[in-house]
């Protein structure tokens, strides 16, 4: 099947009125929202951050290092939760855990 025919078939599949259509339309809308945010957020930032009004005296060291420490608290919190979850999963679901149950296949030999 050549490329143009494949694209045509895909488009036909997406837009034909079937029961699967709502899911595909949702995916398209979701993708549209994500792409929209990718454009909208930088635009809002550009408009608000690039103001010409004069700023006040401040110590940028205090502001930037303060931000750094706050973000590090968030990063280490997430890191601790994620790595803790992984460690717990590895220990809890290891084969030798007394609480481990065999899977259906391991138990009966059938799926």
């Amino acid at each position: 099947m050549n490329h143009s025919r494949r694209i045509f078939q895909t488009l036909k599949y997406i837009f034909q009125p079937t029961q699967k259509q709502p899911i595909i339309m949702k995916a398209i809308i979701g993708l549209g929202v994500i792409l929209g945010l990718l454009v909208i957020l930088p635009s809002v930032q550009y408009v608000l951050a690039a103001g010409d009004e004069p700023g006040e005296y401040l110590d940028r060291r205090v502001e930037i290092w303060g931000l750094f420490y706050r973000l590090m608290i968030v990063a280490f919190t997430i890191g601790t939760v994620v790595s803790g979850t992984i460690v717990w999963l590895v220990l809890r679901f290891r084969e030798s855990n007394p609480k481990a149950k065999p899977t259906e296949y391991e138990d009966s030999g059938t799926w």
């Binding site: 608000l48 951050a49 103001g51 700023g55 005296y57 110590d59 930037i64 973000l71 997430i78």
Partner: protein
């Protein structure tokens, strides 16, 4: 299919997963908002800031004050006053860094980048190029000399 039914099919409750997703999304929103806000705050230059033109070239820094005074390898400023750096380069990309005052901005040929700061402590502070710019990059340094008012 409703969430409760999906949970039954997967054999476990899904609410901890939704709590986890909610917390992570909330933290990411907080991180983005904080970073954006601080960036916005420090970008605004005070109205009375003195402009200093900074030029990087292999492998030295030159400075030009508003009154036309030029300095090479040294920059004299006054404690408590605001300064806006207009940074550019004549050859390759450099990066202007005053580590002790958290000033860091690229010097790009054909482009003027700006950053401002207000020194709070008198003394001497190193200025260093932070973008590899050739053989003597490691020694592309200058000194920021912050003086008390009237010194």
């Amino acid at each position: 299919m409703r969430t409760r039914e999906r949970g039954k099919m997967s054999g476990h409750s899904t609410w901890p997963e939704w709590v986890y997703i909610g917390v992570v999304v909330a933290l990411l929103c907080y991180v983005g908002a904080e970073a954006w806000n601080i960036e916005r705050i420090i970008e605004h230059v005070p109205a009375d800031a003195e402009i200093i033109k900074v030029t990087g070239q292999q492998w030295l820094w030159t400075f030009e004050h508003e009154d036309g005074t030029k300095e090479i390898g040294e920059l004299h400023v006054e404690k408590g006053k605001a300064y806006k750096f207009e940074i550019t380069s004549t050859d390759v990309i450099h990066s202007f860094n005053i580590h002790d005052y958290v000033v860091l901005l690229d010097a790009v040929p054909g482009r003027v980048n700006t950053v401002w700061f207000s020194p709070t402590d008198a003394g001497e502070f190193p200025i260093q190029c932070r973008e590899y710019c050739g053989l003597i990059h490691y020694n592309m340094r200058a000194t920021l000399i912050v003086e008390d008012k009237g010194a």
